[in-house]
Symmetry: D2
Subunit: 412 residues, 4 copies
């Protein structure tokens, strides 16, 4: 019985080939980032929390002209229909600058919201909300996290309520760390339509337009990271009434939809942060290969070499995991294998990217903690990534529970 000769390798299907079309997109994205985006990034020092729309408009126009705009959306929304693997290749290039994803319209939270709307939204809602969002005409936010004792790492603690009123729902509650809320055209709001805080079900998603009475932005929250457009805000829903047709999907299926959004959104975060990790490594290499100390280049000192090598390994391991998980999500985004892999990849890449940037800061010394280079900015961003989209600890807890359950099942 002969499985495969060395001449018949095609029978083994594990592949890492990037098709020419995707490679071309990646190259064009990289060019855009290098020539257009990075100069802007340097000028604004990587900080976007003020939400300057003129910056966004300029960058997105350049991306449109370069043919790399909103590549993840299907053509009917102006995109190129890249699946997760294609996104993995292209988003890494966009992520090489903090502003790259904004330029190519694949930044959080809009990118995840587009995906959610595409999968769950009715044709009417897609037309109303997804189309302008994909076009870059609007921005959006995703309002799930609440102050203690509400929904945080534990989503079941959801405390915001949506109560039945004539022709619609009245939403009451408080949300915070809502990214991109300032200036967003609408919010996707998670509220409890049945049960009580702590229950595993009973959540519903609502589309709430900016300007709806009772939907108030309370304050902007100062945070360690400042690279997300318009930053993070605290918002309040105070007798905010939305009509029935602004329910996203079906009533009481909100937690389920959250998973639809979160598993791929976690991975696209990883893709983008892999770009920043590479950028940080490149900055460190640029410094280490030109700066002399103790009679030679830094890059020739063993302790620096160790950091460079460790970062390179972290980058390669991250990419391998991202590709693997992207493939799994492309098979089926909703099965448990994909969620499990996406959790593991999120923990790994968040911590690996953090280590890479941390080492790059260390290699550059005083320069690394200054803002003369952007490393200190990147450092703050990747530190935050270990917390948002599920803190590492919460993911580990979920991962361990699944592993133990699987083991018990196999053994039983």
């Amino acid at each position: 019985m002969i499985i495969s000769y060395r001449e018949q390798r095609a029978t083994v299907s594990i592949e890492f080939t990037v098709p020419d079309e995707v490679a071309d997109l990646a190259a064009r994205t990289a060019t855009l980032v290098r020539e257009v985006v990075i100069p802007v990034e340097i000028r604004v020092r990587g900080a976007l929390h003020d939400g300057d729309e003129s910056v966004r408009a300029k960058l997105q126009q350049a991306a449109r002209e370069a043919g790399v705009f909103c590549q993840q959306m299907p053509p009917e929304y102006g995109g190129l229909g890249l699946d997760m693997r294609g996104q993995a290749v292209v988003f890494e290039q966009a992520g090489y600058s903090l502003l790259g994803p904004l330029a190519t319209n694949c930044a959080a939270p809009d990118e995840g919201n587009m995906h959610l709307l595409e999968v769950v939204g009715s044709p009417v809602l897609r037309e109303r909300y997804l189309k302008p969002l994909a076009a870059g005409d609007t921005r959006s936010c995703f309002a799930m996290t609440e102050p203690a004792p509400g929904a945080g790492a534990d989503p079941r603690a959801l405390a915001t309520t949506a109560t039945r009123v004539a022709g619609g729902w009245r939403i009451d509650g408080r949300k915070w760390f809502i990214s991109g809320a300032r200036g967003a055209a609408f919010a996707i709001v998670m509220a409890r339509t049945s049960g009580v805080a702590g229950d595993a079900g009973g959540a519903t998603m609502f589309l709430v337009d900016a300007g709806t009475p009772g939907f108030k932005l309370v304050r902007d929250i100062d945070t360690m990271d400042q690279g997300l457009f318009a930053g993070h805000s605290e918002i309040v829903f105070d007798e905010c009434v939305v009509p029935d047709d602004q329910v996203l999907g079906e009533v009481d299926r909100g937690f389920e939809y959250a998973q639809v959004r979160l598993a791929p959104a976690r991975l696209t975060h990883c893709m983008r942060w892999l770009g920043i990790a590479r950028r940080a490594q490149d900055i460190a290499l640029g410094y280490a290969t030109t700066r002399k100390a103790f009679g030679g280049y830094l890059a020739d000192l063993g302790m620096v070499q160790q950091q460079i090598a460790d970062s390179e390994i972290d980058i390669e391991a991250s990419r391998a995991m991202i590709y693997r998980t992207a493939w799994q999500l492309d098979q089926s985004a909703t099965d448990s294998a994909a969620g499990h892999l996406s959790s593991m990849t999120k923990v790994f890449v968040a911590e690996a990217a953090y280590r890479v940037v941390d080492r790059s800061v260390q290699i550059c010394g005083a320069l690394g903690i200054s803002e003369d280079v952007l490393l200190s900015r990147y450092f703050r961003e990747v530190r935050a990534f270990r917390v948002y989209d599920g803190p590492s600890d919460t993911h580990r807890w979920a991962i361990a529970k699944r592993v133990s359950r699987r083991h018990r099942t196999v053994e039983a």
Copy 2:
């Protein structure tokens, strides 16, 4: 310009599919390991350094009968012609027991030696040496490492010499940590045919039969690891003369051939140790899901969960890197990208497998440091793997140099 619709995913070539034929081999290998190999492993407590040939014969016969013997060799040598990706899938299953690779004839150092002979050996040498080796009729060793100040982490320090004599070469020198030397039918010996110790070139490989005058086994070296068949020995070449036709490949190309052997051999090591990492995790899970302490199962304690999750992530990241590098080696085993990836994967998997086994020991507590389970054996094996086939530090040094060189080239 539309690259790929979600309906047209086939254009994106990143794939992790295991073809049915390989999956079938993997399943049969797993069955063999579970039903035949592990009982023997437990009986001998994972120790093979005594080189008991009756154990080898029995296990290999079982593998032949199961149709999973020497799967990596081409059919003309009795194998199934699996490429590196196929090996990645199957060797992980074999590696689930310390004795699995011995059973399926893919254990070090024979597996790497077969590969070297296949690629470099003349038809005559392949017939004489490779055929019986692939059949399991003989064993072999690879004699490169020398005591200080000879070839170790730095192969250029090669001090063993081969001097021209009539009709052949006279080899003089000392080698140690030569795995599997006791009982080997022949050694592949690296000796210097030109230049002096420290030179980057000038090495040649020789095939030296056991029993050749002047080829002496001096002693067996006690080592932390004991899972390699016949252990590690110190050998001496003292005016050992071999005829010209026992030169492997061409004179003075030994360092180059060493790379032919090392890049894939490093990766097959990783495949096998990934199997042990999974085994260790399974043992720990078996304990944690049944042992109670402090009022619940260990598997429900947060600190144990953290270790289980970290190990699961290490296992998945290792597998992703192995697949990625296997694919690259299948494209071209000798280009620098493959060598670079293989170095990085070796460092990552050696340290990840080590962490997994270390955590499994810790979870099992006193039982973990006993030999009532085999974790303490595995622990010793994976500790050694951080040293052999290039210590992590040496690989990191080489990785950093390549990365810096690439950076300088790109920038120039």
Copy 3:
């Protein structure tokens, strides 16, 4: 208000001065270890689990002659009355060889048992058990740990029972990982005299002589570590009756006495393992300062320097913590501050010593995993130390609970 001039430093009482008498003892201990103990250690390759009494006798005689025998015991038991701080200085010197503590009669478990007997034992029991033990005429063991689901990391799970019989108690149960049991003259046995497994109280300690009917050694357990004299055994009490006067201390106070033993015993372990950490670092330095690779000495390569520096820092930090905790124990061995510090020091030193030995192995490469030097032996010993005397995880759990409780109290 002037506290202290620079000329008046004596008012500040933090001191690290080692008095001349203790320094002299330390020097003599170091000489004994270097000249007498290490040659024996090399001969037996650091393995003592076979319990060769002729080795023990020879080493202890040498220590007696050097005036450094059983220095921790009061003079009435032939010792020198060193308090914990004095022990910290001297035990580190003894610990520089795996056999040093055996020679100077401060090895586990005898050293901890002596301390327990001294504090808790009646004059009669001290005369009968402590005196010959301190003199090196006998050995002892401490029988607490049980197989699942009995007492392990969680001592309250104690399942061995002692039932009232006329004139004494009948002990029934199984213990394992009982260090030094083979050849011990007596065991200090923890058994439940009231309540049920899981209760926080109800344990009593018994002195059971070897040879008492029903006290059986079932088997020796093979373990990763082999440096403890006579290794670890599994024992059974099967209707083993002991008279009332062999109760150690009072009935039902066993858990309390266990703490009397454990807090200082954990620290003396740390003192001894600090010695091994220093030894491992010295072996690595000996290799790194003489072995050349890549054109220079290993000790001049940055990655090796990093490991040397990290190990030096681990050694210094360990010593500082040991001194600090020794001082605290000398103030009061039983208050909670001492127990808390002793837990933290155990975790820190166990892991630091492990890291030091692990790095030393790595620096020495193939030699490090051989038994040509003793590093691979030390590695196995320090790995086990992360488990026994409370696994790191259990200590961390207890530490965190105390810290949180303290915080809640302060805030309330």
Copy 4:
């Protein structure tokens, strides 16, 4: 020969007792920090880089009134004459807030400059510069670090020159990351008076008054840390002439004096950052003991407990090392043992404090990366501490070289 009975413990001199007077100072410092300093810290969000003198004046007046002002200086300069051990106790309390050291006038760089002036300065210079500095009437800066390729981690690269002119010296060069330069009354400037960049000697220290022609502040450097008063600036000396009597100490002994300043200054940094580490742990405990998730308090989850325990151990180990090194510096601040210990303690505490703050951020989740609590500020400060006062890598390099040299000497 009896060394010490347990009744005679006083003969062992290792002590950790804090005398009542120092304990009283520590308590009063803690009260000041809690009642006066922290409210200000919260108001300004821990950021002092703007150098608001009204904040400084208010805080320092409160410290004077509390009798805890400039405790490290001798009475003739208005201080309390605390030695390093006394400082260790008191500075930790001051460091519990980022503004505490500013309040008690023990903040960098003034505190180190005072020490340098006290030890090296002539009576005239001490009167002119030290007296107002100790009184809080002026501030100062220490101008050593230069942009590439000048003095950085490698001080011998010093490029700023001082050239002999009539009656004085003309200084030319550029310095950056000069902490506290904006608003400083004077700078202590390191300039080369002989030799060339790269030489081990030839540096001299000069006192340069603000306003001296040719002494220009070029810009403020944005850095990750913002807790140092007046931040870090870039300054230029352009034909800046200073008279002979402003030479600090003797010509050409600048490198030697730098060590006088650096060894203790590194340690006082550690003392202060230990305070912040404790503060971060307290914030995390406050959150973990009151915030519920997954059905209980965070403080009862195993993964959180692990972080709490690890931080507690880091804090205790840091304190033990600080006390140890403080004692050594009090014996002799200039011998090599003190410098060696101070290097090791700097590396350890910088990394330990960083780990503690990092864990605290993680425990607090989204709140931890916001500025609603000050953790994100602390995080940025401690990250920078791994770089300034010698990056960890440079210290490790120096530590390893000393350790290897010592080993070679002992063996020779």
